[in-house]
């Protein structure tokens, strides 16, 4: 019996035809994806610089070197799909549905102004700066608001999906999770529920090899966190998290599988955390992580990987590829010249807006505990 089921599961996974989705991407898609990689990278770099300059306070959870996971997973979503980003996915908030126009305020997803206002803790944050960092969201933009409690939004993701189906929709809900957070009980409860009800929930595991100061082997007994899926009889795919196209392929497989009513799945994206857990942890991380491991982990910069692919596919010349050279550089090594001017301009607008946005008035601290009217 066990064997039969394992076989079935294997069959389920084999049914996935990797590469079919990315094969359909146009040259413009490739360019847009590369641009989005720059965008995510620049967000990170720029915030670090702003903090160094003293214009920003608070902890930064860098997605440096993990951008392909975000870009690749978001690129194939429909506007109505929901996402649930966590601390390391800050760019996801403004990159959702960004294809509909970076500056289009009607698109699903937040404006960069809103996201920056959140980073700076200003009243124009979607949450009016009541909770910090990535703890924002938007009901109308289909972004689930997270708490700090890791994996804590996966049940809500399942609930959103359930409600959507009940209302006749076919939206997919994509949740992000660090590999360490998969140990949480609520991860299990939520995925189990989603599996029982065949809910369209795709869980992207961003396996960046470390959960704060703890290496993966102390979090899980297997190499591939995608194997958690086996316990639920759902597909568990492994993607190269440094290759935006591979992420796109695997996630979109999972998304289409979900949208067609077949149920949830897990997509593990193998990546590597470039710096400390947060910027407060950079120094210690340099001690608790072996230097060689860090070097190896950073070696495949997703921007470089994408450029190579584009050059190979004739979508870009070597010279064009060399024009903006953000890849392989840390925040202190990189400068605005290493990024396309559009990217710099876009983020800069957000940041200047945020800095000029006021703090919320103090009394707001006492507001919105309850909704008064019906």
């Amino acid at each position: 019996m066990a064997t039969t089921e394992a076989d079935q599961r294997k069959k389920k996974s084999d049914a996935f035809q990797y590469g079919t989705y990315s094969a359909k991407l146009t040259a413009d898609d490739h360019k847009e994806m590369l641009l989005q990689l720059y965008l995510a990278r620049y967000f990170d770099v720029r915030l670090i610089k702003e903090k160094k300059r003293g214009r920003l306070t608070g902890t930064l959870y860098s997605s440096h070197n993990q951008e392909a996971v975000l870009v690749g997973s978001l690129y194939g979503l429909k506007p109505k799909d929901w996402i649930s980003p966590i601390h390391r996915d800050m760019p996801a908030f403004f990159m959702k549905d960004i294809k509909a126009g970076w500056r289009n305020l009607d698109r699903m997803g937040m404006s960069v102004q809103q996201v920056c206002a959140q980073v700076w803790g200003r009243v124009d944050s979607p949450g009016r700066a009541r909770d910090n960092w990535s703890h924002i969201g938007s009901r109308s933009k289909h972004i689930i608001h997270s708490t700090s409690m890791l994996a804590g939004t996966i049940p809500a993701a399942a609930g959103v999906a359930y409600a959507d189906r009940l209302s006749g929709g076919d939206a997919v809900v994509l949740t992000y999770n660090g590999e360490g957070s998969t140990a949480q009980g609520v991860f299990h409860e939520a995925i189990n529920f989603a599996a029982v009800h065949s809910l369209p929930v795709v869980t992207v595991i961003e396996n960046n090899q470390w959960a704060y100061g703890t290496p993966t082997y102390l979090e899980y007994s297997q190499e591939d966190f995608a194997r958690r899926a086996d316990g639920y009889g759902i597909p568990g795919l492994v993607a190269d998290g440094q290759n935006v196209l591979d992420v796109y392929d695997k996630v979109l497989e999972a998304v289409d599988y979900a949208r067609s009513g077949k149920g949830p799945s897990i997509v593990e994206c193998k990546t590597f955390r470039a710096y400390g857990h947060g910027d407060h942890d950079d120094d210690r991380a340099a001690r608790y992580r072996p230097k060689e491991e860090v070097e190896a982990g950073r070696a495949r910069d997703p921007i470089a990987v994408m450029k190579r692919i584009m050059v190979e596919r004739g979508l870009m010349t070597q010279k064009e590829a060399a024009t903006y050279a953000a890849e392989g550089k840390s925040a202190s090594e990189v400068s605005n010249e290493d990024f396309p001017p559009d990217v710099v301009a876009y983020l800069s607008e957000g940041i200047e807006f945020a800095i000029n946005s006021p703090l919320p008035p103090a009394e707001e601290g006492g507001m919105w505990v309850f909704r008064e009217e019906n």
Partner: protein, 336 residues
């Protein structure tokens, strides 16, 4: 359908709850029920008996044994436009879904500066006096009273059970409903219960269950009846006790208590939760802050001892409030 089976015009607490659920499911097509064994079984106590047959498995979900997922899924549904009714098979098991209640659901409106409502009701059988032991007797409402963003009600009569549950199901905020399982089938409290909107009982209003001049007994849930019996005892001793059933803990109807204290000048608060940081203490604290000038004697609490609820009867009664303990405390206060 079980509700139709009612023949007598008097209804017990359980039937009243059932009516609230069926009526609101009928009224609100966006309402979804979720919990363990609420469908095929109809709930451990039968509150949702017949509901799945009537409204289908999509709106009446027999969930896996996973309280955190149950609450969290309901939260997601509320975020996406539904009204949810969550059953805890026993309120004791709420500890397993704790984080999803206090950190995810209770704060949602606050965190989003009002963007998102959480029309969720979490209801479940609660309370002691039934020999349920440590994990089928709890009154853990203080955990939630100390967690901003949750309303809390605890009905003691069939009318209130129906009326408060219905109001809870129309409230845009998460509401915890502590149902007194020892009252579920008590015939002596059965009463006529209105239908539809006429049944609504507003959240946040205390009920004066007995008028009196000498001492105010503030209570809720099972202990309403102990207080009423104690009031009889007190009457024999020549003291007239006013019994206030607060019904809603959060938000508390302080005005009604203060009004009463202006008259009686003496306060005894009774509940069955552990003493330290329980809601009885909260009432004492508020009244000593706000009605100090009206108090002619030290206020008193009669609560569970600071122990779990033990199983066998003599031990259970040893730790829980009783008519005798209430009478004694009230006499001490009256004679101060």
């Amino acid at each position: 359908m079980a509700v139709a089976e009612q023949v007598s015009s008097k209804k017990n607490y359980l039937t009243a709850l059932k009516e609230a659920v069926f009526e609101e499911m009928q009224r609100n097509p966006d309402m979804v029920c979720i919990g363990e064994d609420i469908g095929f079984l109809g709930g451990a106590f039968g509150v949702t008996e017949g509901l799945k047959a009537m409204y289908g498995p999509e709106r009446v979900i027999d969930a896996p044994i996973s309280e955190a997922a149950i609450v969290g899924v309901a939260c997601g549904m509320c975020l996406n436009g539904k009204t949810t009714l969550v059953e805890m098979q026993f309120i004791d098991f709420i500890s397993c879904g704790f984080d999803q209640i206090v950190n995810m659901t209770a704060t949602y409106h606050y965190r989003t500066a009002g963007e998102v409502n959480m029309p969720m009701v979490i209801r479940g059988p609660a309370g002691g006096y039934g020999g349920g032991a440590l994990y089928h007797s709890q009154m853990n409402e203080a955990w939630f009273a100390n967690s901003p963003g949750l309303k809390i009600v605890c009905p003691s009569t069939p009318r209130d059970a129906k009326g408060l549950l219905k109001s809870a199901l129309r409230d845009p905020n998460p509401v915890m409903v502590y149902e007194m399982k020892e009252l579920y089938r008590q015939n002596k409290i059965a009463e006529e219960v209105p239908e539809g909107d006429a049944a609504l009982v507003p959240i946040g209003q205390a009920s004066i269950r007995r008028e009196g001049d000498d001492v105010t007994l503030v209570t809720y849930g099972n202990n309403v009846y102990h207080c009423l019996a104690a009031a009889d005892n007190l009457a024999e001793e020549g003291f007239s006790a006013e019994v206030l059933d607060i019904r809603t803990l959060v938000p508390l109807d302080e005005a009604t208590i203060i009004e009463s204290l202006k008259k009686t000048n003496r306060l005894v608060v009774v509940n069955e939760a552990p003493r330290t940081c329980g809601f009885a203490g909260e009432v004492l604290a508020r009244m000593s802050e706000e009605a100090f000038e009206y108090l002619d004697a030290p206020p008193a609490r009669v609560t569970r001892l600071d122990t779990p609820v033990p199983w066998v009867k003599p031990l259970e009664l040893y730790v829980l409030p009783s008519v005798e303990k209430i009478t004694d405390a009230a006499l001490r206060v009256c004679k101060f």
